[in-house]
Symmetry: none
Subunit: 137 residues, 4 copies
Amino acid sequence: MSNTFFEINASNGIPVYEQVARQITFAVAAGSLQPGEMIPSVREMARELAINPNTVARAYRQLQDVGVLESVRGSGLTIQSGAKSRCKTMRSRLIRERISNVLTEARQSQLTDNEIMEFVQVEMDRKHTKRGKNDRA
Amino acid sequence: MSNTFFEINASNGIPVYEQVARQITFAVAAGSLQPGEMIPSVREMARELAINPNTVARAYRQLQDVGVLESVRGSGLTIQSGAKSRCKTMRSRLIRERISNVLTEARQSQLTDNEIMEFVQVEMDRKHTKRGKNDRA
Amino acid sequence: MSNTFFEINASNGIPVYEQVARQITFAVAAGSLQPGEMIPSVREMARELAINPNTVARAYRQLQDVGVLESVRGSGLTIQSGAKSRCKTMRSRLIRERISNVLTEARQSQLTDNEIMEFVQVEMDRKHTKRGKNDRA
Amino acid sequence: MSNTFFEINASNGIPVYEQVARQITFAVAAGSLQPGEMIPSVREMARELAINPNTVARAYRQLQDVGVLESVRGSGLTIQSGAKSRCKTMRSRLIRERISNVLTEARQSQLTDNEIMEFVQVEMDRKHTKRGKNDRA
DNA sequence: GTGGTCTAGACCACC
DNA sequence: GTGGTCTAGACCACG
C-alpha cells in the first residue's frame, strides 16, 4: 500500500487521530485499501506519518469499534470483509455533514445563495489546477 | 438591536467566544450592526446568551485586536468606523476557507466532482425548505 | 487663558483625569498659569476638552490634594501662591520617573546603550521637525 | 533556559500578561530564546512567576496571535521559526514608541531640550552603577 | 454603569 | 503530561 492518500495536517484543528481514521475510511471506500488486506502496524504508520504511535493506535481502535478494521491474532489488523460498503456510507455521511455545516454558516452570514455558489465554483476550479493548501476547518 | 443573528451552539466544537466573534463580524458585514453603533455590554450580552461574561469579553477583545470594535473609556464598545468593509473581507475569507477545506477533503476522499456538487445542491435545497440543524463538524 | 497646552488623548492608556492634572501642573511650572489666577470651571473645561465633567472634577480634586489648586468660596478654584516651585519639582520628578522607566525597560530588552541613545536622538530630532503623534505609553 | 530575564512587577500599571509577553518577545529578539526551542509550560511558568496559569496562558495566546509562538498539539508551545526577526522589529517598535511618548510629554511640559537630555543622561548613568527600581509610570 | 485584569478551579481533548 | 475553554467571582479604574 502506498500512503499517497495521507495528508496529515497538524494545525488545522481536526484531531490527528481523526484525520487518520477518516482517511483510512475514505481509502477503503474508494478501493485503495481492499478488504482482507493488512494495514501497516501502529509503529510503522506512526513513523511514516511522523506522529505519535498512541495517536495511530487511537485511530485504529476507533476503526475497530465501527467495524472497519479487525484484529488478527498475533499478526496485526486487516480490513474487515464487509467494510467497503460501510465505508462508502460513512464517507457520504461525513462529507455531506461537513458540507451541510459550511452551507449553514454561509447562509447564516447573510451571503446570498448566488454568492455562496460562486465561492463553491471558484474553489472547485482552483483545485483542478493547483494543489490547494487547507488550513483551519 | 435585535439579537436575531445569534445562535450559540455549545456542542459543535467551535469555541463559544469564537462563535460570538464570528457572528458579530457577519452582522457588521451584513449591515445589521452599523459602524458607530454601540454593541451590548459584556454583561448584557452574557445575560442574553446565557454564557459567562468572561467568554463574551474574550470575543470582544478579539474583535478589538482585529479592528472591528473600539473601546470608549468608561462607556462601552462601539463598531469602528472602517469596520464594515473589513468585516466583509473577513466574512468572505472565513467562508471561502471553510468551503475550500471541505472540498479538499471531499476530493481527497475520491468522490467525483459530480458527486460532490450533487451533495452541495442537495444540501443547498434542503436549507430552502426546512431549518437544518447542524451537529458536530 | 488659552488652552493651547492641552492635548487630551483618549486612547493612550493614561487616564484622562491624570492627563488633565499633569498638564495643568506643567503649565503652572512653566508659568503659563500664574499663582492667583483662576482656572476655568469644571463644566467649562469639560466642554472645551469634550470630556466628562466628572473627569475634570477628579483632576481638580487631585490638584487640590497636592496643593496646586485652592478653592475660593463661592467663586471657584485658583492657583495656590506657592504652587509654582512645587509644580516645577513635580514636573522634574514626573518626567524623570518616566524617563527612568523607559530606559529600564530598554536596557532590560538587551538593547545596547548605543542603540538606546540612537533611538532617543532620532525621536528627539523628529519632534523638531514635525508634530509627532503619541499613542500608548 | 534560565528565567533570569523575568521581572514581573505587579504594581506598575502594566498588565502582568503583557509584561510576560513583552519579556518573552525581548528574549527572542536577544537570542536568549531560540526559534524551535520550547518554552516552559503554562503551569510551570505560572509556578515560577507565582502568578495564575490563566494569566500566563493569556500572554502565550497573544504571542501566538502575533506569530511568535506556535502550538504543538499535546506537547507544548515552541518559538516559531521566523520569530527572531519579527521580535526584533517588535522590540524596536515598542521601545521607540515609549521613548517617543516620553519625549513628547517632556517637551510638552516646556522643559528645554537640554534639560530633557540632561535627565536622560543622568538616568542612563545611574543604571550603570546601581540596579534602579521602577515604580508606577 | 462600563470594560479590564487577575485568580481559582473545573473539564476537555490530545499525545 | 500538555494547552484550550469555560465558569465564577473578586477587584480596579473610568465616567
